[in-house]
Symmetry: C2
Subunit: 198 residues, 2 copies
């Protein structure tokens, strides 16, 4: 077998990206070399730099270039609250609401036994250690409201309660602006059960 | 404004890939850093190497790491035939049919005035020079049978004929295995006009 040419190597490497098959990979390689060499050079640099610099925050497990991420280093935050999210994007969404001033723990995934993702893959040991620092008083579970996210929340909840920590979960209910006619029955059922005195 | 972190730079660079928007770019960046660092390092190397090494063949204009590509260096090929294709993938498809033993010219695009792609962008001057080498006797147009491909073929055909070269075009007609009931009327009309004595 002939060794792969630089072009074939590039197409092969592009297939490692999620959602990119052989045809797209080839199209991407051709496009970048034909129409955007500057972008190709940027991508080369960006990948090398990211691999070299990006680590996990020793405290909250998110991506960071320093041992501690910016959020964890922020002394203004309420260290008694620890919000558990699946991904850095989820953390960003919560930050944008400006309703939460505590710290975070980013699982970088969710429990998914069918895909072979167990407690170890979502860094549960690190989370337990983090939550048991004596300062954290409440763990706020903000995993997704999908089956896997709910299972993850349940599992973490049990683990935390066994250690005597207070655990809460984001409220479920009718979305803001939601019309009952178009909201699914499961959501309305949950909103009815969780109804609040006004 | 804060300078972008390595992660943001990577997501930004990934948006340069065709068909990748901001959400996909972020998802790709997270995925590669979380689950496939080896792939990320491969991508970094592959992009750098491709940008550094890949040039256009001085004769046929395809991608190559040497001044002349392998096909153009192959002395066994029929240098009197020059097949014009839009992309290296098209060339590869024709090669796989084993029906053509001549040389190629790869336009690396197609005429598309609406997108601002003119004769210069598809290297027509280089093609004219290549076809006028005194050896090429017939130019075989194998651009796509799309509106743009047909327009490109027509334009090249006129240019070549003005220089006294023989020009041909791949035959149009009913695809092999095609059932008339499911073939579009335009194709059947063309197959009827181009019908051949058996």
């Amino acid at each position: 077998m002939k060794p792969l040419s630089s072009l074939e190597q590039l197409a092969e490497a592009l297939r490692r990206l999620p959602g990119v098959g052989p045809k797209s990979a080839q199209r991407m390689a051709y496009h970048m070399l034909q129409h955007d060499r500057e972008g190709a050079a940027m991508l080369g640099r960006a990948f090398n730099q990211a691999v070299e610099k990006i680590q996990h925050c020793t405290s909250c497990n998110t991506f960071t270039e320093n041992p501690l991420c910016e959020t964890c280093m922020d002394g203004e935050r309420d260290a008694t609250l620890l919000c558990v999210v699946e991904t850095p994007s989820d953390q960003l969404m919560i930050e944008q609401t400006l309703t939460y001033k505590g710290l975070y723990f980013v699982l970088m995934g969710r429990l998914s036994p069918l895909d072979g993702v167990g407690p170890k893959d979502i860094h549960l040991e690190k989370l337990v250690k983090r939550a048991s620092d004596g300062v954290v008083a409440e763990v706020v579970l903000a995993t997704n409201f999908t089956n896997e996210g709910e299972a993850t929340a349940h599992y973490i909840s049990e683990t935390m309660k066994a250690r005597g920590l207070k655990v809460s979960r984001l409220a479920r209910g009718v979305p803001v602006g939601g019309e009952l006619e178009y909201v699914d029955a499961g959501t309305i059922a949950r909103a009815m059960l969780d109804r609040r005195a006004t």
